[in-house]
Amino acid sequence: MSKSKGKKFWEKLPAGSVVLEAGSAVKFKTGTWRSMRPRWIEENCIQCMFCWMYCPDMSIKVTAEGKRGEFNYEYCKGCGICALECPGRKGVKAIVMEEEGK
């Protein structure tokens, strides 16, 4: 490949608009879309991992042991699926939805 210095902007575009960096969407932070914010109440959590399985935005972190971690607020869109599906402990939810910025 010839030097990219001195090249025009359009000359540096990848041929055929191929995206060369897999998973580069992580640079796009969708957390700003959120109007409702999920909050995890750890003591009510039974570690069923349903929230993790059902999150459309892969926004529930997992610890090295495969346990539920915190929300990833950089990407969480606040849809509330996790909260609705959370069985919680004895019927008491481990996720509640709250208004963003409250």
Partner: protein, 334 residues
Amino acid sequence: MTTKPLRLRELAKGEDRLTHGHRMCAGCGAPIIVKQVLMATDYPIIAANATGCLEVSTCISNFTAWKIPWMHSAFENAAATISGIEAMYKSLVKQGRIEDKQVKFIAFGGDGGTYDIGFQSLSGAMERGQDMMYICYDNGAYMNTGIQRSSATPFGADTTTCPAGDVIPGKLQNRKDLTRIMAAHGIPYVAQASPSHWMDLMKKVQKAFEIRGPKFMNVISPCNRGWRSRTDDAIKLSRLAVDTCYWPLYEVENGVTRITVKPKEKKPLVDFLKPQGRFKHMFTPENEWMLKQAQEYVDKQWDLLQKEAVFSGGEEKVEDKPEAAPAEEKTEVQ
């Protein structure tokens, strides 16, 4: 390759092959489906994707949410595109130019890209015996262009091209039963799945990947935009679709039909319809006939499916919501 166990805690340690940062609407069902499909297996996967919500939202400019090789070319040709990719793989392996890494080939398409405009290309690929799996995420309309009717749109639904008016109360035709049409192709494996029943879905994917030849899976994909429901109810609605037998979970393996999840108690269809704004007009007194007709259709189809399961020799496995309990032991499959 041995089929990996479907234990949530083990699965959770794996890497996401579809990343966050995609731009599907909050609460969309489609990325949940894709994530479950990709998670079901450790085989390398290469995917083609038809134009539609999933495609435009997962790969924009130089942002791609895919960590697998992925290709979009047009709307009606995901099956043909993946056929070409698969053919090249086969050719290069045969010539010894690349190593056979047991790559699995998937085409993802929306209902519009599958039931309608892409149907010919899908049917052709299936008939040719292409070694691939086609997965339709069926949200029941052309969502990406603004909720127009497709042949997957259910009876009664209010869409932008069949708006519920005073004279015509929404879509007057039943949805095309594509899963059965695909089964009629006589391909080795056809299934219907729902993201609510993740284990059932993932087992089907696992099973499909152990079969050579063409496979088809139809997955209900809630769309809160088009269905006019809440952003948090994608899983609830897909579960209700199963529980009302609107969307039965079954598979057709070499001609044998098996209902994989049979609801303990079949719920009335209105439980599925009521939370969705697209069916709101059906709940007025003058449109009562629509509810009745919709229920009758579901009953008839469900009845047919059960008969077919018995007739074809498929044992009816009663397995109500296997993921209702976090028990890990019983979730292991081989």
